[in-house]
Amino acid sequence: MQTFDLGEKGLRAMHEELHAQTQSTNETAWEIVNPKGSHAIAVGLDAPIEVTVRGSTGYYCGGMNKQATINIDGSAGPGTGENMMSGKIIIEGDASQYLGATAHGGLIVVKGNAASRCGISMKGVDIVVHGNVGHMSAFMGQSGNLVVCGDAGEALGDSCYEARFFVRGEVKSLGADCEKKEMRPEHIELLKGLLEEAGCDARPEDFTRYGSARQLYNFDIDNAGAY
């Protein structure tokens, strides 16, 4: 285990070390201490390494991540995992707003709650929240899965495309063109896998699926006269 003191050595030195790790690195376990809510911790990683941040992080931790597993032993600031491509981010506490915004792949797990706009414009990432998510979550979600074991705030999935949403608790309101959908066997199977990977013992059968009603983003010939 390599331990890096962020308070002492700073963000640039941390990234020089983490970005120097290659596909075949032997230094696969990293620990960042003294994060103190710093911005942009462990961004742009591209190696099969595991980084554990001991404490809470500020804006954009794990942004653009590829391959790496990032554990946040605390709460995460706004925009965590933004534009992540692959790999994993596990947050022990809560996540602030726009978690996993525009993320293309990988898995983000929140053990606590996530704030507003969780998974906004998600493009293939899977997000599993053990608690609740705030308003406007998965706004314009295009692809991927958002799993909420608690409740969802107002306007879930507003103007969504083909992202899927699974909520176990209450949904305060659905956004424009988002609707409740049937849970078919393939969805139960998918959800089972995601919950297992996220270390969550919720039963897939207790969830409701939501997704796009496909009225907003598909061209309707009856509206041709409007153009």
């Binding site: 103190k36 809510g37 500020g58 600031g77 706004p78 602030s96 707003q97 704030a115």
Partner: protein
């Protein structure tokens, strides 16, 4: 109070009154935060509550008058993160009601709006609730009162806000980074205020 203000205006027209009351003092200036804090000897101040604010100017120029907080009445003040889009029309409405503003600043209009609401019988909490309907734009507001402070975010809540609570204190910041040097922060309850909800803490 009105007479004192009028007399000051006549005798010392260059004087600007930043605050009035018995408990809350407002200091503001242009410059590096460290320099401003030193000039007013902020580290020597004592009290039960306080708030610091640095401004990234959008709606009006970088001037001392445009700096926050703005007084909303005796022992009250307002700081704002965000931007209001209907401040010009609201400024005209308030002027017709006899509530005048001194600058082009949007937050000053919000402060004047709260003052006006309270002159018409609203409590501060009610004035903030009414603001959710009447103030168009995005904001996280913090109001200082004689014995505490309040927080409200607009219904969309783009502008960040973080609270930390322990048995010893309640703290507010725009982000967790601002709170990390507080004693016992690791064990504090850290949470984000809900949109369109008015919170108050007092001694």
């Amino acid at each position: 109070m009105q007479e004192a203000r009028a007399a000051l205006k006549e005798m010392r027209p260059e004087t600007r009154v930043m605050s009035a009351g018995e408990a809350i003092e407002i200091y503001k200036e242009v410059g590096l935060p460290g320099d401003v804090a030193e000039r007013f000897d902020i580290p020597q101040l004592t009290g039960s509550h306080g708030i610091g604010h640095t401004r990234m100017a959008t709606e009006s120029a970088v001037t001392t008058l445009g700096a926050h907080p703005f007084s909303t009445g005796a022992d009250q003040c307002l700081v704002h993160n965000g931007s209001l889009s209907n401040h010009n029309s609201l400024r005209r409405t308030l002027a017709r009601e006899g509530v005048m503003t001194e600058t082009e600043n949007d937050t000053e209009v919000a402060a004047a709006y709260l003052t006006w609401k309270m002159q018409n019988g609203h409590s501060l909490g009610e004035a903030l609730e009414a603001g959710i309907d009447d103030l168009d734009g995005f904001y996280t507001f913090v109001v200082g009162t004689k014995d505490g402070f309040g927080v409200v975010r607009d219904p969309i809540a783009c502008k960040p806000a973080v609270m930390a609570e322990t048995d010893q204190y309640v703290a507010f910041g725009s982000e967790y980074r601002a709170l990390v040097s507080l004693p016992g922060i690791e064990a504090a309850r850290v949470w984000e205020p809900e949109p369109a909800t008015v919170y108050f803490w007092k001694h």
